[in-house]
Symmetry: C2
Subunit: 400 residues, 2 copies
C-alpha cells in the first residue's frame, strides 16, 4: 500500500535529467571536456573565498555546542537580523528579523510560501516560460499550478492571457525574475502592470492575491539592465531567496522567505512558516551554513563569467540567424529552435555533442534553453560545433 | 486568506518551550549556572574532533564546486554507500545504497516515511509516552496519529490496548526506542511480540502495516542493556535515523531513511522518497555535512556522560522515594510525580529553580521528564535542590 501518487511519478523522467545522463555517458566516451553540456543550471564559479574562510574560522574557534546546536525554528536570530539589515540597505525597505524566515534553499522557501496562502484546490498562476519543478512543488501541496502562456516576442508578461486566467480561485501569483529559463528580467513597467491588476482583482474578489517572488538569480544581472525590486511594487509580496547561485553553493541548501514589511500580516506569516516546517520536516537550514552566509551577505561568487558567456553565445546565435531575446541576467538563454519541433532540433544537436534542452516542459514549445554556466573556454569551443550543426542540418537558415 | 490551520497553531504554545523560556529569564536573574534546567533535549557534549577535522579538510582541499554542488536527489552516492556498508557491518543486514535516502535529520526522515505509506485519513499508531512533535509531523500530512496508552509499570508496550486499536485503517506503526521521553529500550521480547502482531494483522487485512522506527538515540545505550536492532524483527521496517544525538550536531540537519533490504518494495520506496522531496522542498541535506558524516560513521561524541548523569539522578530519585523505571539509554528519565497533577508538581519545582517537564503532552499524565544532557557538575548541584524541594513540598514522601 505505497502511495500511488509518488509511485506514479517514478515513471516520468525529466528531459533535463535524461540529457544530463546522456552528457555524462558521452563524456565517458570522448572526454567530458568535449561534450558541450548546456543542460544543467549548476554554478560554474567557486564560492567566494570569504565564505570558506568564515566556515573554517567557525569550526576552529566557536564553541561546537553553540555552532552545531539547534537553530530556533524561524532561523538563528542574529542571522535573520543580518539579512534584514542587508535587505533594508540594498532595497530601502524596512525589513526586520520579524519578516525573515530561514529556509533550505529556494525550494524550501517556496514550500513554505505555497502552504502559507493556499488550501488544496486553490490556484497559483505562473508565467511561461517557467521552471518545470514548479509543478511538483505546487501540485503536491494540493493546490493547482496554472501556467499563463508566454509573450514570445519579449518574454515579459502576456497580460491579456493573464487577466483571463486570474479567476477568484487564484490565491497567489508566482514570478521568477531574472527568469529561468528565458534569462529575461521583468521591467518596471511589467511589474507595475502586474501589480496594478493584482490590486484591482484583490479588491474585486475580496481576498488578497499574494505575489510569490522566486529570486535565486537576483544577483546575476547584466550591464545596463535595470532589475527592479519586486517587493517595492506590491505590499503582499513573499520573496523567496536562495544563496545557491549568488554564492555558488546549491548543495548547502540555504535561503530565506522575506515577507514585505508593508504586508499587514507579515509577522504572522513568518511565525506560520515555523508551524509549516513542523509538518514538512524542515526544522531550519544547517546552523553552520546560516552563520557563515550571514557574514558574507555583501559578497557573491565572481558572476561576471556568465555575462561573458552570454555575449559570446548571443552574438553567435544572431550570426547564425536565430531569433532570441537577449538575456538580462541569469545563466540561461532561450532561443527559438530552427524547426517547429524543438525536441527534434535538440535531438539533432546531440550528433554535434551539443546538449540543448527543448523548452516544451518550460511551457514554450519551439524554443530551447542553454545553461551557459560552464567555462568560457568551453563556450568558445562549442561555437564551432554550433556553427557546424546549423550549417549542416539547417542550410537554409538566414544567418550571415 | 492565510491558511487557518497554521494560523491556529500559533496560539498553542509548547510546555517545553514555555519552561525553557522561564529557565532563560530566570538565568538572567540568578545566573544560568544556578538554574537546573532539565527541559531541553540538546546534546551537552561536543561533536567529535574528527568531524571538525574532516570539515576543515573538505573546505581546504576539495574543489569548491564539487564540495558545494547539488547533491543527487537521493543523497550523494558515496555517502549512501558508506552508510549502507556501516549498517551492514553493524547489524548484519545486507544494506546497499539503494536502501538509503539522505534526509534532513530525523524530522526530515519521518516526513518522508509518513508520506510513503499513508494517504490522508489513514492512521498511524504510536505508543505513549511519545515525543509530542509526532502530532504535527503526522497530522499535517493529513494522516491521523493515534496514541496507544502506556504500560506505566515498564514503559514497554501495552499489547492489549495496541491490539484493540490496530484497525484496518492503520497503515503504519511508529516506535521510538531508545525512547524519548521514558529512556526505556524495547526488549527483544517486546519487538517480537509487536512484529508478530503486525504480521498477523497485515495478513488479516490484506495490506502491509509498515513499522517506522525512529532511532535518533540508537547510540546512547547504557551498560548491560541490550538494544536489539528493530529491522531484524520485521521486513517492512523503515528506519529513520539522525546524527543529531550521536554526533552532537542537531543544528546541522543530517540523517537518513534506511528501508530494510528484506522489504519487497525497498528500492522503489527509496526512489519515491526522492519524489516526496520535490513536494516538501527538501532537496537533500547539505552536501558538505553529508560528505563529513560519511567519514566519521564509526565515531560518536563522548556519550558516557549521559550514563553518569542518569546514575546520579536515578539513585537520588530512589532515595527520595520516587517511582521510576531505570532508563536503558537516551538522556531522559521519566519518574512518577509525587502528586497526581504533574503540572502542579513541576510548577512547585520551579521555586527551587528545578525545570522539570510535566508529561501530559507525552501521553503519560502524572509523570514528568528530566533531560539530563547537562554538565555532571550541575547535575550534582541540582540534587541538593531536588532534596530540598521534595522534603519541603512532600514531607510525607517515602524516601530513606
Amino acid at each position: 500500500m505505497l502511495v500511488q501518487r509518488y509511485k506514479d511519478m517514478l515513471s516520468g523522467k525529466s528531459v533535463i535529467r535524461q540529457l544530463s545522463e546522456f552528457a555524462t555517458s558521452r563524456g565517458q566516451e570522448i572526454g567530458y571536456e568535449n561534450v558541450f553540456d548546456y543542460s544543467l543550471g549548476n554554478p560554474s564559479v567557486p564560492v567566494p573565498k570569504e565564505f570558506t574562510d568564515v566556515m573554517i574560522r567557525l569550526l576552529s574557534e566557536k564553541n561546537p555546542m553553540e555552532l552545531h546546536g539547534y537553530s530556533p525554528s524561524l532561523g538563528i536570530t542574529s542571522v535573520r537580523e543580518a539579512i534584514a539589515a542587508s535587505l533594508e540597505k540594498r532595497f530601502g525597505i524596512p525589513y526586520r528579523k520579524e519578516h525573515i524566515f530561514m529556509a533550505s534553499g529556494a525550494a524550501g522557501a517556496l514550500a513554505h510560501a505555497f502552504r502559507l496562502v493556499t488550501e488544496p484546490g486553490d490556484e497559483i498562476l505562473t508565467f511561461a516560460p517557467f521552471f518545470p519543478e514548479y509543478h511538483p512543488y505546487v501540485d503536491l501541496t494540493g493546490a493547482v499550478l496554472k501556467v499563463v502562456p508566454p509573450n514570445t516576442e519579449t518574454f515579459q508578461i502576456n497580460f491579456e492571457a493573464f487577466e483571463e486566467m486570474l479567476s477568484e480561485k487564484v490565491k497567489a501569483v508566482l514570478i521568477n525574475t531574472p527568469n529561468n529559463p528565458s534569462g529575461i528580467v521583468y521591467s518596471a513597467e511589467t511589474l507595475q502592470g502586474l501589480t496594478d491588476i493584482l490590486r484591482e482583482k484583490s479588491a474585486k474578489y475580496g481576498h488578497e492575491i499574494y505575489l510569490i517572488s522566486d529570486e535565486p538569480y537576483r544577483e546575476i544581472v547584466f550591464e545596463g539592465v535595470d532589475a527592479p525590486c519586486v517587493s517595492r511594487f506590491y505590499d503582499n509580496t513573499i520573496m523567496c531567496y536562495s544563496f545557491s547561485k549568488s554564492l555558488s553553493l546549491p548543495g548547502e541548501r540555504i535561503g530565506y522567505v522575506a515577507v514585505n514589511p508593508a504586508c499587514p500580516d507579515a509577522e504572522t506569516m513568518v511565525n506560520m512558516c515555523g508551524q509549516i516546517s513542523r509538518g514538512i520536516g524542515h526544522n531550519c537550514p544547517p546552523s553552520i551554513i546560516q552563520l557563515a552566509v550571514a557574514q558574507v551577505l555583501d559578497k557573491t561568487a565572481d558572476l561576471k563569467v556568465y555575462e561573458t558567456n552570454m555575449n559570446l553565445i548571443y552574438k553567435e546565435l544572431m550570426d547564425l540567424g536565430f531569433t532570441c531575446v537577449k538575456p538580462g541576467g541569469t545563466f540561461y538563454i532561450f532561443p527559438k529552435a530552427l524547426e517547429e519541433d524543438s525536441i527534434a532540433f535538440c535531438q539533432k544537436a546531440l550528433k554535434y555533442d551539443l546538449i540543448l534542452v527543448p523548452a516544451d516542459t518550460f511551457g514554450a514549445p519551439g524554443f530551447f534553453r542553454m545553461a551557459y554556466c560552464i567555462d568560457t573556454e568551453k563556450v568558445e569551443r562549442s561555437l564551432e560545433a554550433l556553427r557546424k550543426f546549423v550549417k549542416t542540418e539547417y542550410p537554409a537558415s538566414q544567418g550571415k
